[in-house]
Symmetry: C2
Subunit: 477 residues, 2 copies
């Protein structure tokens, strides 16, 4: 494709994206397709000859679009958001156009230095501990996801606990780690991948608000020590996936320090709230953390993938992950003056992801980002009040930020019926979780373009679905 | 940013990319900046108020562009290529614009189904073993990199070898794995991350062409068995990083089968060559592999990240990597009729990466892709002949495909001087490796836009640098 052809089709695609932005609110949020329905429309064999670009774009519209969930719809309230925004897409475009591979500082100094710089900015913007800045012994790096960040933290913790002798003597078999049943599944996955074994992950009891009980954590560590095990890692969560519960870092931290456990803090969704001083309570005690991550690709309007991972001791991280073959040796690395981010992550290669994050921060400014976060939190607080004031519903968890969990008092079947009705309407999309063995609706207010009218309309849908629960009539949506 | 603002700035960015495509050949391939030079030009504090987009774009040009390596220059011959192409960038744009998150089939059926479909196409296009197709017990998935694919293979091999009891009894400490000193560093990294320990990775001797010696592999396995160890994993390479050596799969495979070892085949760069029937010799014996990966983001003109990872037994992979929390349960998953790719990879979330690969295959067609690969291989064969016919140079390895390794007969210092001179000129970029403890230049012909004139010009530069080696005159480039 020549530059001029790219210029032509690039404009078409930009218009396609702008049109999509304008129309997305009107699309049914969740697709209604059966397994295999999309594939059945695609030719079984790849084309031998090239095809014109407009044929490809036509198939995007005709075949793919009916089969996507519209995560960028302001009526999307499911899971946690996975937002984009105009400046973020433009940053991703330039990243794809430049096509640099930043595995080493030397393979694109600007790629590494902008990333370090923007992650230092985020320490300022979220008021994170200073030891996460690059002018300390720590620093930050962009990962694809909190799962990968957590895995890096676990592997580093394992190496620290075994003094780099992991698996020479079966010592890994003695290691134990700690989280809660509310902790994200990526922690169990990481524990498995790192060879610690799911059974060595202790699920510490939570309190009535789904927060880790620090007294139970202390007891679990003591019991493991008494049994000859070697506790090495704790994952605390700021904003759990089910309910955005906030584990008490200020209590957990001193315990980790006392027993020399690595404390990783996962704030994938909630971290962004710390843009606003009034929400910085979520990070109380974060100064105890050895590592921390949050995902701008969730609530900071930066498209997937973009997780920001900070460590207090970058040497510990790179000791765990660095392997330096001859073909990657270079003078800059040997000078010790540069960061080679390949040693901070699982993959070797990396694209220029800092661009989109830099674009987002500069376009919106701190003030613009704060205003959006504040609006989302305010809308969630409204929603919580509407739930509380409707006798048919029961709120299932506190709402510290922008997620409301609630159920119909009629039980799981009624709650499921409401979920199916709302999602089936295409007018909004919620997801669910189980809390104290009861089905709960999860409604997260955090999509880039969600405004009050979208939340109000979704709540009306939910209320109407509840109205119709015991009706024999066909549902009158 | 409103849709109309996006429309406006999107066109500017498309023009920026098209202009970059037109100009990239003229830029010095490698930047000449000092550590910290880019950061020093960026404001220490993030902006409180939003900034106009043209200010951001101006800084991309003024601050960042001088600090990037131009991987998309046709004069880029270093490392392995990390290519983009027009259709690939357009695919990445639509992926960013749609912003879907395909962790589950249910969270965007089209994202999953297109990926499965395109990976099945690749089985056809490369003539891979049929058990890698999704209608068998196996299948394919897009990973960010071969490093991550290899880690998934290692973890699956570990779980298979320990019957899922990894680390309950310290059994992981008994596991051993096999590769060669020429195997990519990601294998040692994966072995470490998975908790097997670097010391349990055996580096099997290679032959005089840097290929794994299968007799030595057999001996190493036998020795470990005799010592009570449990061999579990072999990584064979099709196209090693240093020299594109091709391990003898047809000899290695039966040994792995005999001893029940997982055979992973890493063809990150070279796999693409199998588009052309005349290069399919590289995959001879691939039918023995349990898993296989290659990177369209290297030589198939699809921008980073895009590694295609195939497994023979997808159930083994998902058993190793699946953790299913309540909030991700859904009817489609429970029906057993769909693929949830979150269980095929380290991260949970994933973007719509199949789009760019689909765009590339459709735009170029199989015929177009084959023609580009053939041209690159032919150019590399020309280069090898030029090297062979110049008495000052010594070729250091066979050239089965598109990488030529050679040195100046004057030794490491002379070779280094040539490398520095060529790279310092900005007119071409090579990288290096060490072979039999001697410095070798690596020149890989595989950038999307590299033509004969670029290879000729680079060879002239190299020859001139050799001319000037013993000259006292200032170099007359």
């Amino acid at each position: 494709m020549s530059p001029d052809e790219f210029r032509h089709w690039g404009r078409e695609v930009v218009d396609w994206i702008a049109d999509y932005m304008e129309r997305v609110e009107a699309y049914p949020v969740a697709p209604s397709v059966e397994p295999g329905e999309i594939r059945a429309q695609l030719p079984a064999q790849p084309p031998e000859e090239g095809e014109p670009f407009d044929a490809i774009l036509r198939d995007v519209n005709a075949i793919l679009l009916p089969g996507v969930m519209h995560w960028q719809s302001p009526n999307f309230f499911g899971y946690f958001p996975c937002n984009n925004s105009g400046p973020s897409i433009l940053g991703e475009m330039i990243s794809a156009g430049l096509g640099v591979q930043g595995m080493l500082w030397a393979t694109s100094p600007a790629c590494t230095e902008l990333e370090t710089h923007v992650l230092d900015w985020l320490v300022e913007l979220l008021d994170l501990p200073r030891h996460f800045k690059s002018d300390s012994l720590g620093g930050g790096v962009i990962q694809d996801s909190a799962s990968s960040a957590t895995l890096c933290a676990i592997v580093t913790a394992r190496e620290r606990a075994t003094a780099g002798q992991s698996n020479q003597t079966g010592v890994v078999a003695s290691l134990t780690a700690y989280a809660t049943a509310q902790t994200h599944s990526s922690v169990e996955k990481g524990i498995r991948i790192a060879g610690l074994g799911s059974d060595n992950l202790r699920l510490v009891e939570t309190d009535d608000q789904y927060r880790m009980r620090s007294d139970r954590l202390r007891q679990a560590i003591a019991a493991d020590l008494a049994a000859g095990r070697k506790p090495c890692f704790v994952c605390a969560t700021v904003g759990t996936t089910s309910t955005t519960a906030i584990d008490p870092l200020a209590e957990i931290g001193p315990i980790c320090r006392q027993y020399d456990l690595w404390l990783h803090v996962d704030a994938a969704l909630a971290g962004t709230a710390a843009l606003c001083p009034e929400f910085r309570f979520i990070h109380e005690g974060l100064e105890w953390a050895d590592s921390y991550c949050f995902n701008p690709h969730k609530w900071m309007f930066t498209n997937f993938d973009c997780d920001c991972f900070f460590v207090r001791d970058r040497a510990a991280l790179t000791r765990a992950l660095s392997v330096l073959p001859d073909y990657l040796r270079n003078k800059a690395t040997e000078s010790g003056k540069v960061i080679d981010y390949r040693d901070w992550q699982i993959p070797l290669g990396r694209r220029f992801r800092a661009l989109k994050l830099w674009f987002v921060i500069r376009w919106f400014g701190a003030a613009g980002l704060k205003a959006m976060v504040r609006e989302h939190v305010a809308l969630a607080q409204h929603l919580a009040r509407w739930v509380d004031s409707d006798p048919r519903f029961e709120r299932m968890a506190p709402v510290p930020l922008n997620l409301v969990c609630f159920r119909h008092r009629g039980g799981d079947a009624a709650t499921q019926q409401i979920l199916d009705r709302v999602n089936g309407s295409g007018k909004a999309f919620l997801s669910h979780t189980r809390l104290r063995d009861r089905l709960a609706l999860r409604m997260c207010i955090g999509q880039t373009h969600t405004q009050r009218r979208h939340v109000e309309a979704a709540w009306r849908l939910i209320a109407e679905a509840a109205d119709d629960l015991h009706s024999d009539k066909p549902s009158g949506s």
